[in-house]
């Protein structure tokens, strides 16, 4: 097995999951409680990566991060190197690609928190952020686990975006799923089999972890059916 690719994949999945949780918690909180008309649009944009061919996403990211756009040029200037074909570029792509897998379970979990709990907290002097930290998050722990596991597993399994934005640079952007593709191209079926089995195992264990969660004391929210 390609250990360099394995370590890179795990690092990518961990970093992506961490960033996703930081971004998705406030976003999902807004989605769960807003009355804004922009909600439907934001919801649709967040869900796009589920239905969009990964190559489309990868293509636009490649263009956006490259020298063709002002944004890409500024970014390249600031970093000293282009974001595409680097690990950081992979992280950006993975975060966008796995966003719905973090936002959706969290938003569902937050929305399922009993409104009377939030009303009670408000009359006790607890403001918006405080309610999120001290009431909503503890009551939707299950959704946090779901969001983390799904983001992690989904990042491990991504292929199209990673290939488009990262190329296939050993040690920098070659993840396990790309290594598997290379192995098959080179007719190294025994190696390919080991890589494929390993990926299969990780995903299976992740999903078993998800389904073995004890239902939370109160919030039965954010569970997958």
């Amino acid at each position: 097995m390609d250990t360099v690719a394995l370590l890179l994949t795990l690092r990518l999945a961990l970093v992506t999951t961490g960033i996703l949780l930081v971004l998705a918690v406030p976003l999902a909180y807004w989605l769960a409680f807003t009355g804004s008309r922009a909600k439907v649009f934001v919801q649709a944009v967040c869900a796009l990566p589920i239905v969009l061919p990964p190559t489309v996403l990868g293509f636009y990211l490649l263009v956006a991060l490259g020298p063709r756009t002002a944004f890409g040029r500024v970014l390249t200037h600031l970093l000293g190197h282009p974001l595409a074909f680097s690990f950081a570029g992979l992280v950006v792509g993975s975060v966008i690609y796995s966003l719905p897998f973090a936002v959706q379970p969290l938003a569902a979990g937050f929305a399922a928190v009993d409104r009377s709990m939030l009303d009670a907290a408000a009359t006790l002097g607890s403001g918006r952020c405080d309610r999120m930290l001290r009431v909503v998050l503890p009551l939707s722990r299950g959704s946090l686990v779901t969001a983390s596991v799904l983001s992690f597993a989904h990042t491990i399994g991504e292929f199209g975006v990673v290939l488009m934005i990262g190329g296939n640079l050993p040690g920098a952007t070659r993840t396990l799923s790309i290594a598997l593709y290379d192995q098959v191209q080179d007719f190294q079926y025994a190696q390919a089999n080991r890589t494929a089995l390993f990926l299969l195992g990780i995903c299976l264990v992740a999903l078993m972890l998800l389904y073995s969660q004890r239902p939370a004391r109160n919030a039965r929210s954010g569970d997958l059916v």
């Binding site: 009377s116 009670a120 408000a122 009359t123």
Partner: protein
């Protein structure tokens, strides 16, 4: 908090309000339309279920944004939707210092009874917090429940914890929405007494909502009757509730019907 209202002497109204609100659930809809001022230390709003009592409390607490409203607590406008020279104001619930005990106690399931009370004691020193929690649980006769989780408590015990938690937030007024419904008669009386005593000592006015005639008689210095989203009478309990009392006595066959 320096910008929060402080209790006034009972002669000036602690609450002045005018609200109009239309609920659009179902086909018929429901119209809340009322105006009144509350002066008494203990005020009761008496009316049948569905007359809009809970919505009235939610509007005062800031959990309901009425279509049209002016609400003044201890001389401070907390909600004003009127056009004209006055600016629009809507102070959110967390800034109103209104203690609200709802029918649904909504005790946080991820915290113990003591943890629930401590939720409202943020910023208090740890040692002082412990003492305060014990004192507040004593008011509702729940001192032995401190370490219990909500799932281990009965409906009546949950209501007691909810009351203690509300007191912990140091409210400037107390709104009670049938808070003793799940308690047996003797504890209801004792805890109600403790609670009113606690409030009186601190000069905190109490507004109780009930459809229980006995509670309306005992928990109010002044009574408002409510029907179909409107206030139908306001005054001393004997005066306002006499008709209701006679009707009940007739139903029991105690006095011959005229």
């Amino acid at each position: 908090m320096s910008d929060t209202p402080s209790p006034n002497p009972p002669s000036t109204p602690w609450l002045t309000m005018h609200i109009e609100h239309r609920f659009h659930h179902g086909g018929a809809g429901f119209h809340l339309h009322l105006a009144f001022a509350a002066h008494a230390q203990r005020t009761v709003v008496f009316g049948p279920s569905g007359s809009g009592k809970s919505s009235l409390l939610r509007a005062i607490a800031g959990l309901l944004k009425p279509d049209v409203a002016t609400i003044e607590l201890h001389g401070t406008i907390v909600c004003n939707t009127m056009h004209g020279s006055q600016p629009r104001i809507f102070l959110p619930a967390e800034k109103r210092r209104v203690g609200l005990v709802m029918q649904d106690p909504a005790v946080f399931p991820h915290l113990t009874a003591a943890g629930n009370v401590a939720f409202a004691l943020r910023g208090t020193e740890r040692s002082a917090q412990k003492e305060k929690i014990a004192r507040l649980l004593e008011v509702v006769e729940a001192e032995t429940l401190a370490a219990r989780w909500p799932r281990q408590l009965s409906g009546g015990q949950l209501q007691r914890v909810a009351i203690a938690r509300t007191l912990a937030a140091n409210p400037s007024i107390l709104l009670l929405d049938e808070p003793f419904a799940a308690l047996d008669a003797p504890s209801r009386q004792r805890i109600s007494q403790n609670l009113h005593q606690w409030a009186r000592q601190r000069g905190i006015p109490v507004l109780t909502v009930t459809h229980n005639l006995e509670e309306a008689f005992t928990a109010g210095d002044e009574v408002l009757t409510m029907e179909d989203g409107r206030i139908t009478a306001q005054g001393a309990p004997e005066q306002v509730l006499s008709q209701e009392r006679e009707r009940l006595l007739q139903m029991l066959g105690a006095v011959p019907s005229s």
